[in-house]
């Protein structure tokens, strides 16, 4: 549900823009596709999100926190993948976007060697173009992992990825591209000395793990099924996976004032907290707005 007050503000702004546009239409050659009209005011903050439910929940938390701090917020959710929304951020059409440090770094610096959380965050600050900035990162991460069932972990006494080296005939399942990723079978071999055979289980990866078609699965750490099905995510002490913490990506001009509102949010968002948010969406079928309001209330940002 859209916030009514925000709506009115937007309507007034829209009316003003239309009025100005009408007044100018006699002398100016207006470009109807020009994105800037209407978002020039710093009073309206445009918050975007990926077409990924977990990302939308975080975006909704940012949006409600900003509304609470007195900003007019326009939501531009479900924009899609990075190739689609990064140009919108660079062009100034979107001001705030929940991002993931590792994946975002890989977008701007595909050859990066940084994998640990702090290295990645530092490298990201350098890699971003001038118009964009990241605020403080949260400890919550949503990144690739190698996950096993509790039984398989117990049977082979596994806690870290390296422990797999003692297990014969390990079958790894994941999306088709995992076969070619640096952290795929080749990375397992070179970093941990673990040899695996690969199955491109794609959209059935979770079922394949639970049913024993594969022993190890590439699942996102914030996937609620890790919690609900009692799976075990193996530790990654050598940093095989790129750390990917939740971080607000913002318009650099607004970074300072937005930090005042969003940094406390990032500090309060923990790894377990993010999984809990996802569980509410997947298991309880709550809307992202409801989940965000509850989280903000529970964490004392809204009374």
């Amino acid at each position: 549900m859209l916030n009514t007050a925000g709506n009115k503000g937007r309507l007034a702004l829209g009316a003003a823009v239309v009025g100005v546009a009408l007044a100018l239409s006699g002398c100016a050659q207006g470009d109807p596709l020009s994105p800037d009209e209407g978002s020039g005011s710093t009073d309206t903050i445009v918050v975007g999100s990926q077409a990924y439910y977990s990302n939308e929940i975080v975006a909704e938390i940012y949006a409600q926190a900003l509304e609470n701090a007195g900003y007019d917020v326009e939501r531009s959710f479900q924009i899609g993948q990075r190739d689609a929304y990064i140009p919108a951020l660079e062009g100034g059409e979107v001001d705030v976007f929940p991002e993931y440090t590792g994946n975002l770094l890989q977008y701007y610096a595909p050859d990066t060697t940084a994998t640990q959380t702090d290295e990645v965050y530092a490298a990201l600050a350098d890699a971003l173009p001038d118009g964009l900035a990241v605020l403080a990162q949260s400890s919550a991460s949503d990144q690739d992992s190698y996950t096993v069932t509790q039984e398989f972990a117990d049977a082979n006494s596994l806690s870290s990825i390296g422990d797999l080296a003692n297990v014969d005939g390990v079958v790894l399942g994941g999306p088709p591209e995992l076969e070619e990723r640096p952290y795929g079978p080749a990375g397992l071999e070179s970093v941990y000395g673990v040899t695996v055979s690969f199955e491109a289980t794609g959209d059935t990866t979770f079922d394949a793990l639970v049913e024993g078609v594969v022993n190890v699965a590439n699942i996102y750490t914030a996937d609620p099924r890790i919690q609900t099905s009692g799976l075990v995510t193996l530790d990654d002490p050598e940093g095989l996976f790129l750390a990917s913490n939740v971080v607000p990506l913002v318009n650099a001009d607004l970074a300072e004032e937005l930090a005042a509102v969003l940094d406390p949010i990032s500090a309060a968002l923990t790894a377990e907290g993010l999984v809990a948010l996802n569980v509410q969406s997947v298991e309880d079928q709550l809307s992202s707005a409801q989940i965000a309001t509850e989280w903000l209330t529970a964490n004392g940002f809204v009374s």
Partner: protein, 269 residues
């Protein structure tokens, strides 16, 4: 930077893309690819042909029954029309989930889900080809067969099936094309096929691989279409024309010269 326009630049980019795609195909079909691409092509052909064969086994008898009796056409049109509108990807995942609730193993589930989705996709065209082939036969031909004492079974076997063959082949042809194009979805559930290289290439931004695999799907479709075209030509030659299409009207009295002008051309007016 030369004085090239944006269009010329785009043309150059497209040319490079296609060049890279062909290079990818050649490299992977050769010994360097370790035969993996051949396996994908084989899987793709297997899924397509098995699906069309199962669909044919269901749709041809049903279509003949409709065409011969002239009953049930409306229902068949309605059902097959609705089936055409079902999204194949959704169907695959639906059956994988549905069979999962019955405790069927994952391997069986994904295979069954994919085949069911492809078969449902292929049935409408084949069904339409089968009954339309029978309907297109000149009613007087059927009456003649009945008049010389053929049983209904003989009429179907000796008159209707051969005369309806060209339209049935047309139905099989379009069903095969649709399934070849859709079998790319099998890779989403670990069944491989040429869709694997497309789906794998997308997140890795390997455009040569994606376009190369897509071109192979197109090439496969053309090759199978050419085979069906050949089959259609052969049947046209072998089977006497008993449909309502024009035939030389020797039995009609008329000046000799009018025959020559109307013999080969369609006589609708």
């Amino acid at each position: 930077m030369g004085p090239k326009g944006p269009l010329a630049h785009a043309g150059g980019v497209v040319m490079t893309l296609f060049f890279d795609a062909f290079a990818w195909i050649l490299a992977n079909l050769g010994p360097a690819g370790e035969g993996e691409l051949w396996t994908r092509i084989g899987e793709h052909v297997l899924y397509s042909l098995v699906s069309v064969a199962i669909a044919a086994a269901i749709a041809i008898p049903a279509g003949y029954l409709i065409g011969h009796t002239g009953r049930g056409r409306e229902i068949a049109v309605a059902i097959s029309g609705a089936a055409r509108a079902l999204p194949s990807f959704g169907l695959i995942l639906f059956f994988v989930l549905l069979l999962g609730t019955f405790g069927v193993g994952l391997g069986v589930r994904v295979a069954a889900g994919s085949y069911i989705a492809f078969v449902i996709l292929a049935i409408p065209s084949i069904l339409a080809g089968a009954y339309a082939g029978l309907e297109a036969i000149d009613r007087s031909t059927i009456s003649a067969a009945r008049a010389i004492g053929m049983t209904e079974w003989q009429i179907l076997r000796k008159v209707e099936v051969p005369l309806g063959l060209p339209l049935l082949i047309g139905g099989l042809r379009s069903a095969t094309l649709q399934v070849v194009a859709t079998a790319t979805l099998a890779a989403y559930v670990n069944l491989g096929g040429l869709g694997f290289d497309i789906i794998q290439g997308l997140p890795l931004r390997r455009y040569d691989q994606m376009l190369g695999a897509a071109l192979l799907v197109v090439a496969l479709a053309f090759a199978l279409d050419a085979l069906f075209g050949l089959a259609a030509q052969i049947t046209e030659r072998v089977i006497p024309d008993g449909r309502s299409a024009p035939r030389p009207r020797q039995h009609r009295a008329g000046p000799k010269w009018s025959r020559a002008s109307s013999a080969g051309t369609p006589a609708h007016n």
